[in-house]
Symmetry: C2
Subunit: 498 residues, 2 copies
Amino acid sequence: MEQRFAELKGRLAEIHDLRRAQEVLFWDQTVMMPPGGGPVRSAQLTTLDRVAHEKFISDEVGQLLEGLRGYEDGLDYDSDEASLIRTARRDWEKARRVPAELAAEMVGAAAEAHDVWAKAREESDYALFLPHLERAVDLKRRYVDCFEGYDEPYDVLLDDYEPGMKTAEVRAVFDELKTELVPLIAEVGSTEPDEPFMSGPFDIDAQHQFSLRIIERFGYDPQFFRLDLTVHPFAASSGTQDIRLTTRYKEDDITSLFTAMHECGHGVYEHGVSQALERTPLCHGVSSALHESQSRMWENIVGRSRPFWNHFYPQLQGAFPGTLGDVEQESFYRAINRVKPSYVRVDADEATYNLHIILRFELEQEIFAGTLPLKDLPEVWNTRFEEYLGIPVPSDSLGVLQDVHWSGGGFGYFPTYSLGNIISVQIWDKVLAEIPDLHEQFEAGEFGPLHEWLRTNLYSLGRKFTPQETLERVVGSGIDAKPYVRYLKEKLGTLTAA
Amino acid sequence: MEQRFAELKGRLAEIHDLRRAQEVLFWDQTVMMPPGGGPVRSAQLTTLDRVAHEKFISDEVGQLLEGLRGYEDGLDYDSDEASLIRTARRDWEKARRVPAELAAEMVGAAAEAHDVWAKAREESDYALFLPHLERAVDLKRRYVDCFEGYDEPYDVLLDDYEPGMKTAEVRAVFDELKTELVPLIAEVGSTEPDEPFMSGPFDIDAQHQFSLRIIERFGYDPQFFRLDLTVHPFAASSGTQDIRLTTRYKEDDITSLFTAMHECGHGVYEHGVSQALERTPLCHGVSSALHESQSRMWENIVGRSRPFWNHFYPQLQGAFPGTLGDVEQESFYRAINRVKPSYVRVDADEATYNLHIILRFELEQEIFAGTLPLKDLPEVWNTRFEEYLGIPVPSDSLGVLQDVHWSGGGFGYFPTYSLGNIISVQIWDKVLAEIPDLHEQFEAGEFGPLHEWLRTNLYSLGRKFTPQETLERVVGSGIDAKPYVRYLKEKLGTLTAA
């Protein structure tokens, strides 16, 4: 039995190595590769993906998993071994359901649609994109048909990013959030006028040094991390001891600091996975929402807090004396927390961001329920956007065409962003209950105990348990919007107080 | 038949992608990876190697190759298709001969021996290294036993780096070189005293900019190349359009310029392989010696020539005015071409370098012929070193322990360095016959026609033909030491002339 388990583990390690190689090659492509390398690199990535997939869905892996049922029953549910078998079996059963031809067609369609989408967005031409969107939805419907036992088709899409999460559950949570948030934002409007100092200039090198200074307090260590430049920031990793973060800088924009904190949140999660899980399929954060809860926690709950800036603001003024030397800390604090309805999701503030997400979640469900014809999508988008955010959408470029996700068939991903926000406050409340002086620690520039708590209680678990089990273990309950609503109300309260 | 060929090509492309992924992961490990990533990266590299090897030596590939014999017979020998089948069959037959267990044992022994060798070199303790060297030789003997049809065992070792080359042929060429070189160097002694200006200071950033300025004339283009920093410079590539060079800088050493030219020589060779060969096993330089002929040609024949510096020296003075502003071009030229016997191969000048190689080649043969017991190796090394280079070896650190190669079982590699020198002049003579004004072009800073000639006549061929066939096609004959001896004599003549 133990030999059979060792064989399974060996095969899964090989597959995991191939997957990680893909991740490094993707990072290299984005960060380091000379532009001419593109076509061959795409072929290499496709090969690695196919070889890893073929090795995973093999009958041999299935037989090993089947043969290990008895062994698994004798193991502690919480053990690394039982978790490995359980998770690998779930992954295998899912991966086996999708025919290779459909998977290949989806990849091909996504590649074609991407360039058309980019052109359509540039020219604000929804009609150009429509046939590709129709194809993406059609392929995704065929993908849904590969599965069974779901309550509604959208469950299948959600499951790719948030395994086990049900659409109904997300709907309930988002409805609660929306009910509170729409009137709140309508009432608040914009919290502050534009502050000229937020346009800089902020020296690029000083931004880089300050980003590093902050995230080194969060757990970034050059022994295990890198921070490089890309147009679209992201986090990747080759293993728990090799974490790659990327960010971007603009002279007239200091929000790079928050980008670095956000990506570092993803990074410390991956870095904190138990080294005993290295080279197994358990060696990753458990889901998109849990991952996002960490990037958001470090970016927003920590990085946009008053205690954080009580520590860092004098240093920030020292780094940018010309621009911030005469700016009061409170003005800076309000500027970085400014609430203002806007069109583009990625530029949205912490509060209005969720309404962008809820809009997309609703539209995605209606598309897959068949109640929203795709040709009507821009009109429905614009109407509902104004209803939620109080401002009219000026063009499809700044509306329905703004995100890349749908061109690649990425339906079901959007909700995880706001689920991450919600979960981040649930976890935060829990940590604060166990370490009541966290804010005093931040004021002293001390973030180690927070990091350590999160590592012990969340990061180290990796993918050993389902996202639901993981959340339950960390906070003692399921997902709940109330703490996040309370957090937003409190924060908006302090911002609107004169 | 064409379908069978397409299937072979598809399988070989997949294997090639895995091999290239290994190369990118190795580059990343050396140039970019945070140190903590080491252990997992080693596992990933081992996995990629094993998966690629298993896929290549499969019966299916063998059956395809066998089934394509008739198809191959109907093809033009020079066609890409015939070359692919022919080369893949030779690679396959060779790869099938080595049992996986032996290959794995060699990899494991090399990993163990490396650290012991590093310690032994540091402490000049040959006895410490001896058991590992014995094991490496023993394993290599078992490796030789996997093959048949060779004239002497060393042929098998040579074949890994210089396919088809016979020991007897190398011996003849090296004997000729040695006969000329030993008395020549004994007569010349050192051509110049140490020049204080060669110790700098040379600003690091200015060295980097100047390296780029030179190699951009050689064919380096940021669209397809990178230049990064490592302790041990090398060239790697992900494909013909993605070439990675590395170099190093020291404030008291300007030879970084020659390192950049050397690695760029490797790079332009890989970059010049026909794009029609991309993602096939033909997509590489053909052998170590041919590769080295290109790095040496660009570094030495071009980069250490008077016409080259007639163009670049005024710019170099401008880049380092404090150090070189008052130094005559002729003094600089003589300093960078200084001949002086020394202990360490990698620091040796263009002329004495070959004696370091010939020594190693002779000792390797004697080891595998069983005529040189390993315990006597330091003594024999020291005696023969003094005989060839005229200076006594001060310690094993600066003698028999200086190179990493043997710790990894890399017997048979050394000769390719000098074979590269020899071939470089054969090719140079051929180009010069066809483009007689090359030196005038260099004086005008023009290196394009040389690059273009090499690309058309050598680089583009990749591995379509054997090294011998390739050389024959480029220069019209086999390997011949005479042109190189003539070149060295001429050069030494100009350096010793008052």
